[in-house]
């Protein structure tokens, strides 16, 4: 018995393979729920419960905002083979940039604009550093971006516990509230900061057009699909990688600005700023299969899982880590199904 390449799988086979792997993931997840001591069916129900009421949908939308911004950038980065695992850190750097402008620069009509610019720039710097390390020294960006997540994490902890700790807060680790001009408007009573949402939708569409309708996008696609051909065409691999890394870091920085300016109104502990958006956005991008436009669909889907994870946490006082489990299993199911549909089983040797 062995596996052999199947270059042209039939659509039925692809569908079957995805169905089987998703079922397997659901089964494993159910098993974990059982081990935790809750009924799997009730847990699944809660995971999907945000779909049932407007407030739940608003929660999904709120979580889809950073996922969309980061996911759109990552789908571009993955396309050219830059595995940016550090969106979490880039998001935090964006939050730091936004907080600096909001807290230490005189408030004015351009405050929000400056917050987005500095936040995006810091995010881009964070990702660009990893790209530079890879291009210049050949250091694996998977590991460097991951390590930079921890660096950004401790930077934020240092800032909110030390020099930037609020003058009017006692015993809590966060800065003072941002002035009103540094806050983003929201939709009604929800936490949906719509300007960031618009930015996310715009970014996904723009990157999609860029990738599929411009010469620059063409060279990116060549680089991603066939690096050797890209070299023959004289494409500058290093420069393209760096640019894509900067773009994805910039968008992740935007996501961080949106979180602090739209939701919290201050810089606070890193685990509260990002609820695992950086890692979840990897799934958003992977599901979109290198098409930034598709993140418009995949970001709300993963937003639902994050919102559902919150519901589970409230109902069963389950650690929020459950989201990692769901994300990990889903990712395995997706790559497993993709790989399985590319092969066929041969029963003889």
């Amino acid at each position: 018995m062995r596996l052999e390449l199947d270059p042209a799988p039939s659509p039925t086979k692809v569908a079957l393979s995805y169905g089987a792997f998703l079922l397997l993931a659901l089964f494993l997840l159910g098993f974990l729920f059982l081990a935790y001591g809750v009924s799997p069916l009730r847990a699944y129900g809660l995971l999907l419960s945000p779909l049932l009421d407007p407030l739940g949908l608003a929660e999904v939308a709120r979580r889809a905002i950073p996922l969309l911004l980061i996911g759109a950038g990552l789908s571009l980065a993955f396309r050219v083979g830059f595995f940016n695992i550090g969106a979490e850190g880039q998001l935090l750097m964006g939050a730091v940039g936004a907080a600096y402008v909001a807290l230490f620069l005189p408030p004015g009509p351009y405050t929000l604009l400056l917050m987005f610019l500095l936040g995006g720039a810091l995010g881009a710097l964070w990702a660009g550093f990893a790209a530079w390390l890879r291009v210049r020294f050949g250091a694996s960006e998977i590991l460097t971006t991951l390590m930079q997540n921890y660096l950004a994490y401790y930077l934020v902890v240092y800032l909110v516990a030390g020099p930037w700790k609020g003058q009017f807060v006692f015993g809590f680790l966060y800065t003072d509230r941002f002035p009103e001009v540094a806050r983003l408007p929201r939709l009604g009573d929800t936490l949906v900061h719509w300007p960031t949402l618009l930015l996310g939708v715009g970014a996904a569409l723009l990157l999609h057009l860029l990738l599929f309708r411009t010469p620059w996008g063409f060279s990116l696609r060549v680089l991603g699909e066939n690096p050797q051909a890209a070299r023959y065409l004289g494409l500058k691999e290093g420069r393209l990688t760096l640019l894509v890394a900067l773009a994805s870091g910039f968008l992740a920085g935007f996501a961080g600005v949106g979180e602090v300016a739209g939701i919290h109104g201050r810089l606070l502990e890193p685990a509260q700023i990002s609820l695992g958006y950086g890692f979840t956005a990897i799934l958003v991008a992977w599901l979109a299969r290198g098409r930034p436009g598709l993140t418009l669909l995949t970001a709300p889907l993963l937003g639902l899982i994050l919102a559902g994870g919150d519901a589970l946490k409230l109902a069963f006082s389950m650690p929020f880590r459950v989201v990692d489990v769901v994300a990990g299993l889903l990712l395995l199911a997706l790559i497993g199904a993709e790989a399985a549909s590319r092969h066929r089983l041969i029963w003889r040797r």
């Binding site: 930077l155 990692d324 489990v325 790989a339």
Partner: protein
């Protein structure tokens, strides 16, 4: 001074065990980025069993959990030939998440019978030596290295490429699991969510720093151990924020990666084996 060296060895031990596990898999051509999650889950398995049964079966459970999760990764990275990097990251998330979820009831529970650290540290050192001998002085080691360097040629010589890779990944998972058990049964000894604190990632970087050599990994692990000890010791006594110390290992990993980025990896590292291609 003497205390510093002892603590360096004791703290370097889990890093060493995890690095040896990752190294074994990588020498056969399989990237294992799931180390952090495997370590966390086996630390929990070891702790839970040690609490109910006893510390020795706890170690066995830790090793077993490590083997199981590593083989689960193999299902995707070896048999299905899915992207091994993504599969590894997913396993890391899965292991961290599952251990955080299932381990909630063990948070803050004290362990009655604690395992001594020193014998386990000695065992880890011994295992590094065994691994070195296995890789360079045994037929299996030759097969393993050939599968990591040139799987096609190994296949032509009748070596079962996938079998060797599964064995390397599984045994490596056992070593990582032993590292997890050491953390929760001897070093800490307790269970807390996130207790692996990035050690798994440090171990992966250490493999690169050690140029895929078990004996060099020993020196590297103890060096990291010394740095962690200094971080712990200098905290509060020098006017540097504690967060800077906490961030130091990660900064160090980046430095290591930059310095040894183009060092010689096994040639077929991260490439799924496809017969007849």
């Amino acid at each position: 001074m003497e205390e510093a060296l002892v603590r360096a060895v004791l703290f370097g031990t889990p890093i060493l065990l995890a690095a040896l596990g990752a190294l074994l898999a990588e020498r056969s051509g399989v990237v294992n980025l799931g180390v952090e999650g495997i370590m966390a889950l086996s630390a929990l398995a070891a702790f839970a069993v040690a609490l109910d049964v006893g510390p020795f079966l706890g170690v066995v459970a830790g090793v077993g959990a490590g083997v199981a999760l590593a083989l689960f990764l193999g299902l995707f990275a070896i048999t299905l030939r899915a992207n091994p990097f993504v599969a590894g990251l997913a396993v890391a998330a899965l292991g961290l998440g599952a251990s955080g979820m299932l381990g909630k009831r063990y948070e803050g529970v004290p362990l009655q019978k604690v395992l001594p650290e020193a014998p386990l540290a000695l065992l880890a050192l011994l295992l590094a030596l065994v691994l070195h001998l296995l890789l360079y002085r045994s037929r299996f080691g030759l097969y393993l290295r050939s599968v990591g360097e040139n799987p096609k040629a190994a296949d032509l010589f009748g070596v079962n490429v996938e079998g060797v890779r599964y064995l390397a990944l599984g045994l490596g998972g056992g070593l990582i699991g032993l590292g997890g058990a050491y953390l929760s049964l001897a070093y800490r000894p307790s269970w807390t969510d996130g207790m692996t604190a990035g050690l798994g990632w440090v171990a992966i970087a250490l493999v690169i720093l050690a140029a895929w050599e078990p004996l060099r990994a020993v020196c590297g692990a103890y060096l990291f151990g010394l740095l962690f000890f200094l971080q712990f010791r200098l905290q509060g006594s020098v006017p540097i924020p504690s967060e800077a110390f906490a961030a130091m290992p990660y900064l160090l990993v980046i430095l290591v990666l930059a310095l040894s980025g183009r060092s010689r990896a096994p040639k077929a590292l991260g490439q799924p084996f496809e017969r007849g291609r």
